[in-house]
Symmetry: C2
Subunit: 634 residues, 2 copies
Amino acid sequence: MTSISAGVSSAGADLDSVADLARQLRVDSIRATTAAGSGHPTSSMSAADLAAVLLARHLRYDWSDPSRRDNDYFILSKGHASPLLYAMYRAVGAIEEKELLETYRRGGRLEGHPTPRLPWVPVATGSLGQGIAYATGMALAGRAMPDRPYRVWVLCGDGEMAEGSVWEALDKAGLHKLDNLTVIVDVNRLGQTGPTEFGWDLDAYAARMRAFGADVQVIDGHDLGAIDAALQNATVAERPTVILARTVKGRGYKRVADSPDWHGKPLPQDMAEEAIAELGGVSDVRVRGPIPRDAADEPDQVHAALRRTPSESRPHVTAPTYEVGEEMATRKAYGQALVALGEHDPDVVVLDGEVGNSTGSQQFEKAHPERYFQLYISEQQMVATAVGFAERGWRPYAATFAAFVSRAHDFLRMSAIDGPAIRLAGSHCGVEIGPDGPSQMGLEDLAMMRALHGSTVLYPSDAASAAKLTVAMNQIPGISYLRTTRGSYPVLYQPDEAFPIGGSKLWGEGADDVATLVGAGVTLHECLKAATELAHDGLPVRVLDLYSIKPIDAVALQACAEQTGLMVTVEDHRPEGGIGEAVAAALADVPCTLRRLAVDALPGSDSPERNLAAAGIDAQSIAAAVREAVGPQG
Amino acid sequence: MTSISAGVSSAGADLDSVADLARQLRVDSIRATTAAGSGHPTSSMSAADLAAVLLARHLRYDWSDPSRRDNDYFILSKGHASPLLYAMYRAVGAIEEKELLETYRRGGRLEGHPTPRLPWVPVATGSLGQGIAYATGMALAGRAMPDRPYRVWVLCGDGEMAEGSVWEALDKAGLHKLDNLTVIVDVNRLGQTGPTEFGWDLDAYAARMRAFGADVQVIDGHDLGAIDAALQNATVAERPTVILARTVKGRGYKRVADSPDWHGKPLPQDMAEEAIAELGGVSDVRVRGPIPRDAADEPDQVHAALRRTPSESRPHVTAPTYEVGEEMATRKAYGQALVALGEHDPDVVVLDGEVGNSTGSQQFEKAHPERYFQLYISEQQMVATAVGFAERGWRPYAATFAAFVSRAHDFLRMSAIDGPAIRLAGSHCGVEIGPDGPSQMGLEDLAMMRALHGSTVLYPSDAASAAKLTVAMNQIPGISYLRTTRGSYPVLYQPDEAFPIGGSKLWGEGADDVATLVGAGVTLHECLKAATELAHDGLPVRVLDLYSIKPIDAVALQACAEQTGLMVTVEDHRPEGGIGEAVAAALADVPCTLRRLAVDALPGSDSPERNLAAAGIDAQSIAAAVREAVGPQG
């Protein structure tokens, strides 16, 4: 067993030892994938030298304590090179050989692409083009907020440079001059199906990245000395660093090196044996890279971040209160609640996508400018930044129009894989926005947000519930989402009313009710109007405020269905995946009649009232649906 | 009434007349928005000079016939400047003053943001950062395929340059050296809530765009001569042109010019009057810009594109056939069907996001390389390119992993606004993929795709249905989606079996059936296994193959529910927005018991079989659910 050690400086292990480590990372990548019968050995082998130098000499990480808040971050954006990552973990002693050789199997934590089930993985990767985005969020947190001077290192592939999200992220990294961010691009020139767009034309990448504000170094990604110098330079650059490394896919085993035919294929046993022999055999090199400096050396102020943990209980925050009948938009109440949160909880931060005066976020900006982050028009990066801040223990709320949350769908999907708690608000939902037309109408957001793993979806109808739910989101794990409405509507609830997650509110319950109208947001107000109209006609109905869309109040829904027989859901959303189907699922076993009113036809530009009428979700349409369902005896 | 005319050359109207036109565009933008009480006059005014020169002297468009396939395209990426667009339409006589002054109202076609309800608008805009992407698709179609030499002109805002999708598009425009594409950026330095990232630092944008392969010109966006020269240069450049124009928001009315306080606000009546007076009053300038050259001048070969129309009936294509029992992945059948389509329908084109060997697209690449387009890892641009090709009359099929379709969600949402027919395939859905882990598993795609306006969602279980549905997609309007599975499963259907959209297939129907199992994709095979197991236990059940998820076969579902009482849906998808909820909605009024088996917990990396078992959607789980629901008498 060889042991190399780098100690606390970045110049510990000599490069000969690092070469041994790099060989072992290749060998272990081959062993793990051949044993699994799955995975990407060649994509791991191209980056092995980069990883070895980083691990042994530059990544400051206390492997005995991944919870240390002053550890650097290493994000494997090219998540399919997970065998390399796992080989690194073995080399530092974080995992044993046995676990490495059981990669991808029987639900173990060494998954096909890295997930935060591993304590050393801050964010799930594997959807390409996302690593730099999360890293930029973490690096921004480290520079914009009081914190320890950790660094963020990202290893990317060249293929993923075609994703717009990469440039969206680099733009923000450059704008904020994030000198604590280093992006290493493993330019092995081969993607899944053949050559990448630019092959080994590293200058093409370099020009782009320089224009985006990065300090760029172009190196031979198999020259350990050059790698070491580039990584060292990164630590003293005054801007984000991009290291463009020319590498060879499958490097280390001649039969597969630089071949387009070996993407994502484990070597068969005989080739694996040949490759391992060519690489010098199985070894047990152990590496101890640099660790963070002792926190005791740092002034007290920056220790705050170390004490902050996501599980810590939050200070009590009183939501703003409103007078019943007062007209107020839920998006404004969201902003007012953010201000209150900011006042009482020093960890709350707010992000917005250049629409803060529309979403309500701007109120927080005015009250707490030092904790407000303008992401401009970049929703993917807004979500990634929220994830980055959350990883550092901050409690982000991020907002844009409900329609544009869809731009970040894949980031949300990935963040839902054991990611930290983030909070989103989507304003201007539905046809209610009126004249701006369909491009600005969030009509699919409930379907998208409900289908995310572990998500919570809230949809208040008045300012009182909006404010209380906004405050409640501070305690919700995973991804929580608040859907807000453009227009002003009367406050419905007294200041002492509580809105538990998973609850609902019942209006006008009576023993003779012929129907239950189920609404949220603007449609709740339409339901209440319809109820009044129907009562005049001798058709008593009750109204259920379904402010918690997920989890849903199945108990209340089922009781109403049993008592009234007829259920009418009304939503300013497409018929699929929203309130109507959530209610249908909750009532599947209850004999009842269900009418689902939703926005099915393509809406246009008109007044909110006429848009609601055209979509068949206004009070008159609701009343008509009840009358039709009840029949002529009604 | 003034009339200016440009005739067929690009040097018709003199610049003094163009100045009159520009003044009128500003006046009309103010009039339309003040009349509507909504809209973005100042964002229109900054771009009025750019629009006037383009319209009068460079945009080749036969306003008397928007269906002409040799017209240029003008795409207003900054869709909120729709008043400017509508003012342009008035100036060419396409709309009358009366309609202009009713902008945004009563469901008229002049919507808040442009939509294809207007015959001159090829794609809906208003979600920023999308215009260049669609334009790149159209320009690529014009260069890569036989067609007339139309040009594509895009007008963007500076704020939207923060969207990654802009760079994803410029990358492809540069890669293909699309000399028929001109991007004009109206750099008025002010976004919705304040200054943009780079303000008037046009050099910052220029460096980026040059690095992305564009020919860049930096001009004063209010200097008509400079604009004219830049637009002229664009027509002779050998690469895509970006014109960076320094402009003043609200230009033309001193009280609002360059003010951050007037974004998205119509002028009140008194200010509107003052502004119109300052601009020289209401006018009726009519412009006749250049029109396309007569098609008779062109060689026959390029006329093909002119004859191609989306409504044309398609040639008959016979789907590949399979032997029952043969093991074959649906993704492979998709590829084989594409080959057959390519052979018989010369208008079919195929796009892929660098995963063609996984999705099946690569088979088409080998058979018809001239109609195969590699988009690399850029899903937003893949969808936008499909839209661009479809706009030119081609019939695109685009594929990536189901998980990564989510990256293009906002583009799909926008394309669903009266966009042309495009076809998508999402492979590797669900936990069935096994060891690659959750990042690669499409588990939310049914919810996303079902909720799109006018979409069709198909999910075949065997190669026979996959091939036939792939062929059927060629005739489906709007966005159609085929969900395919990674693994190979037995062919279930004979070659003569038909799979109408909206249909289903019933297996093992019997009068004594105690349950109906509803599956699609891999879960159909699990349902069939469970049915066999249950039959051995004396519990006869039938199985419904729900290959058409949207539209859904409500009639068959309701009949089964009435006949068997117990319905069990099984899906390799999250519980929200997929098969279970679609069935729950279809059965809402039928008294029955519904059990919905879906992937609720976060899946991991394991074999397909163990992943299905862990998610509770394998044959054993299905049989257990039936036994539990049927009770001890079963």
